[in-house]
């Protein structure tokens, strides 16, 4: 009986409980990434995977007896900022893709390789605003 209580206490210590939950989040994000098609949902799935990684890292850092490892916490902070930057850029791409094609879903299968490709070196294309910049946008 005592042995069981000890095992339980060991298993339920935050140093093991939180990394386990982090691993579950990682797997859950992976599952969502495979199953869902809308790009915004895929980005959410990747973010949840990332949170899983951070939870493992912080949980592992809190395992010892003393104060938690500050290096692990610093790495997590760095990771969160990287994640938000990548997310912001990904969302900007998704909006742009929707504007161009009318959908925000990753096409299943390999895309059309023979689709025409615009060539910036010929100066036919100008990235000076695209379809979005209207005059309304600029203050007089």
């Amino acid at each position: 009986m005592n042995g069981l209580a000890e095992t339980l206490a060991h298993t339920l210590a935050p140093g093991l409980l939180y990394p386990t939950a982090g691993a579950i989040l990682f797997a859950l994000g992976l599952y969502g990434l495979i199953r869902r098609h809308h790009l915004v949902l895929r980005i959410l799935a990747l973010n949840i995977m990332g949170s899983g990684v951070f939870m493992v890292l912080l949980g592992v850092a809190a395992r010892g007896e003393g104060p938690p490892d500050p290096v692990a916490q610093a790495l997590t902070l760095t990771g969160i900022v990287v994640a938000v930057s990548a997310t912001a850029f990904a969302l900007a791409l998704v909006v742009h893709l929707t504007r161009l094609t009318g959908h925000a879903v990753m096409l299943p299968g390999p895309p059309d390789d023979d689709a025409p490709v615009e060539d910036i070196s010929r100066g036919e294309h100008h990235a000076d605003g695209g379809p979005a910049a209207s005059d309304e946008d600029r203050p007089s």
């Binding site: 990394p19 990682f26 990434l33 790009l39 895929r42 980005i43 990747l46 995977m49 990332g50 899983g52 990684v53 493992v56 890292l57 592992v60 395992r63 490892d69 290096v71 692990a72 790495l75 760095t78 990771g79 990287v82 930057s85 990548a86 850029f89 990904a90 791409l93 998704v94 742009h96 893709l97 161009l100 094609t101 990753m106 096409l107 390999p110 895309p111 390789d113 023979d114 689709a115 025409p116 490709v117 615009e118 060539d119 910036i120 070196s121 010929r122 100066g123 294309h125 100008h126 990235a127 000076d128 695209g130």
Partner: protein, 494 residues
């Protein structure tokens, strides 16, 4: 070892990182002059890398003493971050400098729109800085960060023309990259949790074949394979590389993919070395053969010039996978593999640049309608052919030496009594034939009789740079001994 070298080398290494960053920051802060900053920076970085390699080679022939570690901010590992330079990283730095300089010169002609220029140069200089930092990093978490620098700037470069094909290629590329990075980071976290350090050399001394190492190896290798587009995780490559602007495709296929491969090699030679088993090697080799066949077949079927080149990257990276089982029999074979990767990067970059010139001239890159331009532009076709010959591995080119050495290693495994070695030999020889087929497909229209039309005028940069780089790729065979000797200066590697 000369004392002067030993003294200067650490400062020169930190200086290379600092110089790349200064150039990138300057171009970001001052976009109006970004192309001038970029040109001067490209020259300066190349000169610095060449100087560094001279210092490095002068430091002496002893592999154990050749690795130089620099403690950033004066903090030694495990507390601080260490930069790490050895023969392997030196070789890839030189490769990056050569391809980087060529791409920069080419871009002077290719990206001429004022607005485009302001977007292109800062991103490209960040990408270059990221690659330099990746090859010099000696810390597991820092590797993750440099990988992110490389992949975010690479994705941005794919997308920046803003067309539907480019943006959808970029979205796919970005999601794949984030997934790969997260998988890599999870591996780093597992190793950190077990051993409490992040420095690669310290990790190497502590790792054994336990559950943590196995899981970390799987996660990190899978993440990097995804980023390197190694078969079967390659599906994203062709859309991203094929629809990017030509200089970007050149850098992606030549350098970025090679960077991920470098990391796989470095990890398996160091931290994960205790885990390598023959069964694992054979599995990876099989994947390589499959990549070789599948990529070549796609390249034979593709309708666009740049798609052919992009699929050929998938195929050529099959060779790199085939090399893994060879390394288990002959540990020294890794040097041949790296040499092959270097030659491939040079040749592939020049093929993409040449394809960009043709696309510019014709206004499209549909192979079926490219004949007129091909016939009218012998210089570019020559560059295409010269680099292609190196990819095929015809005699007297860098590609020949690389493939010859690979074959030799393959035959070594056969002689060592491995039946499956026959498959590797067949793959290496057959892959060359397939490469010949799709490369001939690209240049063949130039030799048909027909109408000639030079198309749109092309800036001299776009005319000459592909030829120059293709020549370098072909002549790389002459630098074979030098490269292999430089690679030998990697401590801990056979």
């Amino acid at each position: 070892m000369t004392p002067a070298n030993a003294e200067w080398l650490p400062a020169a290494i930190a200086g290379l990182v600092a110089l790349s960053l200064v150039v990138a920051v300057l171009a970001t802060a001052w976009p109006r002059q970004a192309h001038r900053v970029g040109l001067l920076g490209a020259l300066a970085i190349t000169a610095w890398v060449l100087g560094l390699s001279a210092l490095f080679l002068n430091a002496g022939p002893d592999p154990e003493a050749a690795a130089t570690r620099v403690a950033l901010g004066g903090w030694e590992a495990p507390l601080g971050l260490m930069l790490h330079l050895d023969g392997l990283s030196m070789t890839l730095l030189v490769l990056t400098a050569v391809v980087g300089l060529a791409t920069s010169l080419y871009s002077l002609g290719y990206v001429h729109d004022r607005i485009e220029r302001r977007q292109f140069w800062p991103l490209w200089l960040w990408l270059w800085a990221g690659l330099n930092m990746l090859f010099l990093s000696g810390d597991a978490f820092n590797l993750y960060i440099t990988l992110e620098v490389v992949s975010l700037s690479a994705v941005a470069l794919v997308a920046f023309t803003g067309t539907a094909a480019a943006v959808s290629g970029a979205v796919r590329y970005l999601l794949v990259n984030i997934l790969g990075s997260l998988s890599f980071l999870m591996g780093v976290v597992l190793l950190f949790g077990e051993h409490g350090v992040l420095d690669l050399l310290l990790l190497e001394t502590r790792t054994e074949a336990g559950p943590t190492e196995r899981m970390a190896a799987v996660l990190m290798t899978a993440g990097l394979m995804l980023k390197a587009a190694l078969f079967p995780l390659h599906v994203w490559l062709a859309p991203a590389h094929g629809s990017a602007p030509a200089p970007v495709s050149a850098v992606l296929s030549g350098l970025v993919v090679t960077g991920s491969f470098y990391l796989i090699l470095r990890l398996w030679m160091g931290v994960f070395a205790p885990l390598a088993t023959p069964a694992f090697g054979i599995l990876v080799g099989m994947l390589g053969v499959a990549a070789l066949v599948w990529g070549s077949l796609q390249a034979l079927r593709a309708g666009r010039l740049k798609s052919i080149v992009a699929y050929s990257t998938v195929a050529q990276f099959g060779y790199l996978l085939v090399a893994f089982p060879l390394m288990l029999v002959d540990p020294g074979a890794w040097r041949v593999v790296v040499f092959f990767a270097v030659v491939h990067a040079l040749a592939k970059a020049s093929v993409f640049l040449a394809a960009g010139t043709l696309q510019h001239a014709a206004g499209h890159d549909r192979l079926a309608d490219l004949g007129d331009v091909l016939r009218a532009r012998p210089r570019t076709v020559f560059a295409l052919g010269l680099a292609g010959v190196s990819l095929m591995g015809l005699p007297f080119t860098g590609g020949f030496i690389a493939k010859y050495l690979l074959l030799e290693a393959g035959l070594g495994t056969v002689l060592a009594g491995s039946v499956i070695g026959v498959l590797w030999v067949l793959a290496i020889a057959g892959g060359g034939l397939l490469a010949a087929a799709y490369i001939l497909r690209m240049v063949a229209p130039a030799f048909h009789r027909g109408h000639e039309d030079a198309g749109e005028a092309v800036s001299p940069w776009m005319d000459w740079v592909p030829l120059g780089l293709a020549t370098v790729a072909a002549l790389a065979g002459l630098a074979g001994t030098l490269t292999l000797n430089t690679l030998a200066l990697t401590p801990g590697a056979p």
